[in-house]
Point group: C2
DNA sequence: CGAAGTCCTGTTAGCGTTACCGCATGGGGG
DNA sequence: CCCCCATGCGGTAACGCTAACAGGACTTCG
């Protein structure tokens, strides 16, 4: 195929290859002729052959947990965009469970595909084990992973976000803040619990027991019903917006008004949260930035630069109408 | 690398290759030895080399519109799962806009990656042009695309879904049903409009003017405010659940109760819709099935079997509490 | 007991590209 | 005026795998 182009341009295959990979090393006039032939034949280099010859593939692997979820989906999208802009293509492995086994399996698969680098979106505790024992020599960057790993990590600062949410509620005069968290197996969920707890303790507030949901509205609803029974509860920080939706409903059904009787804060700022009833005060995570950071850190890794990064993206508190002053 | 395994097992490279690709063609005893060596060396075949030799890559391309949206994300996820189960890996191109140019560009890219087949998730009218003029010889399957294409299409039967929603509302005694549709540039949006209109016309009901949103809750809210002003409006079929959320809020703010004064039906059945206020009656699309069908149709295409399929997946009406009898 | 399979394994060549070295050509310095 | 070097291009050999054919040992049947 390359030969065809070469023949048409009246040069050798090698010259065509050079024209495409190191244009400055070929005379302007020849280059013109070659490029014309390339266009004429609509030539596209065969990536497999190129990869075999060079060892590089121009493909990145992304292993992610369930890309149906808002966070992972947004992160993936922005990784993909950044990659495309830099002439990489993206191969995916969405896992429903992140275990050491499944991560290693995906990594092996990517490895045999000779991907140039891998981004692992691993907001799950079970992934930590897999990440700590990475045997591959492929550059790897983790997103939303815990601390203490040998690979660079890019993540939203969950503690800071939770702290902001909690302080916001305290500043409205609430005596303390209840927390409805995500599953203990999720890194992010635990980071939020920590941020929340730290603020309460620092201010000398009582630390109520944490309830654990599974991120779904259903679980938010179920746990919300219990919270609604307790008249002491006047402020709730919920681990994500979906659960917050369930909580809002539970409170309403129990006759407790939001924000007059109870204030609620969510996490994520999903696009719909501004249209919940009432519009939800929440913590916005900039997944866009996370994805693009992750990509660039990976680029650095691949170039051999740096490592051992832990990059925190700052979340932002979005105040809407689900929070208000305490009436205590 | 293959040579190493061969050496360790004391056989030729070819025998190793056979052991991996056609185990029955090699003696059980030899096979054992080879497999032992494979494990010993943790050998993984190089896909680029294999691809160069065979012409097949084991990679599928998926080009999709914004995979942040619920539908495309779910479809992608289920395609990926089906592919993985069949030892294919998936390369993605999420486009923010589907135009003939961008589709062709992605296709070229996939082509030079020698993907074995491509699935195009193209719920957008602008994609039709690109799909009609496909020049590639790669097997292609379209998801959620319009009619009259040369490639097989797998899609949810939007008209049937809309018809069900509309009939449901009429059966509750409403004189007619208003429709808040998605953008006219979206195939699905138009299919829903048609299904809705057909039912109204068939029953001799008045056909109110269609409003067009952009799928977002915001647009649902804005258009909902207008509908809320009109006392004749007692039943609204909304193009998706996000917009329906906005409509619910607009109605509530205008003092119109749902479902007592106005009934609302959405489309998609996003996981949260059961926790809207009130829980939303909606039309469930089985994206899971769409994705897995698409994959299998592509498999057929790749095997040279069939073509010209148009496979409709049946949507399902989920009745919750946002619809009720007319009080007219 | 020999010819004709049958089964298994090995040999050779080639997939399309790039790395590496080598060979012209031409221009400038000694 | 000759030699040396820079510049530009071409030839050849990989990269790691499999297709296609080849050949040897062992059956099987007349």
């Amino acid at each position: 195929m390359l030969e065809d182009v070469a023949a048409l341009a009246g040069v050798s295959a090698m010259t065509v290859s050079r024209t495409l990979n190191a244009p400055e090393r070929v005379q302007a006039k020849t280059r013109e002729r070659v490029l014309a032939a390339v266009r004429e034949l609509d030539y596209r280099p065969n990536t497999a052959a190129r990869q075999l010859a060079t060892g590089r593939s121009g493909v990145l692997g992304v292993v992610s947990i369930d890309t149906t979820l808002y966070g992972p989906a947004s992160t993936l999208y922005s990784i993909e965009r950044a990659a495309r802009l830099n002439d990489y293509s993206v191969s995916i492995a969405s896992l429903s469970m992140l275990t050491r086994r499944s991560i290693e399996e995906s990594l092996r698969q990517f490895q045999s595909q000779s991907v140039d680098g891998v981004i692992i979106v691993a907001p799950h505790e079970s992934a930590a084990d897999g990440l700590r024992h990475l045997s591959s020599k492929i550059p790897v960057v983790a997103v939303d992973a815990g601390a203490g790993l040998s690979v660079p990590v890019v993540t939203v600062d969950q503690r800071a976000g939770a702290a902001r949410a909690t302080r916001h509620l305290l500043s409205l005069g609430h005596e303390t803040v209840w927390h409805l968290a995500g599953p203990a197996s999720w890194i992010d969920a635990n980071g939020r619990v920590e941020g929340w707890r730290e603020v309460l303790e620092a201010g000398g507030h009582r630390v109520p027991e944490v309830s654990r949901g599974d991120w779904s509205s259903r679980s938010g609803y179920q746990l919300g019903r219990r919270l609604a029974q307790d008249p002491e509860v006047t402020a709730v920080f919920v681990g994500n917006d979906q659960m917050a939706l369930g909580v809002l409903r539970a409170l309403r059904e129990a006759g407790r008004r939001v924000p007059e009787d109870v204030s609620v804060v969510g996490f994520d700022d999903v696009p719909e949260s501004a249209y919940f009833w009432p519009p939800l005060t929440t913590v916005r995570q900039d997944f866009e930035e996370v994805g693009s950071h992750a990509f660039h850190v990976l680029l650095d890794q691949m170039a051999g630069r740096s490592s051992q990064v832990r990059r925190l993206v700052e979340p932002e508190l979005i105040v809407r109408e689900s929070t208000g002053p305490s009436r205590g």
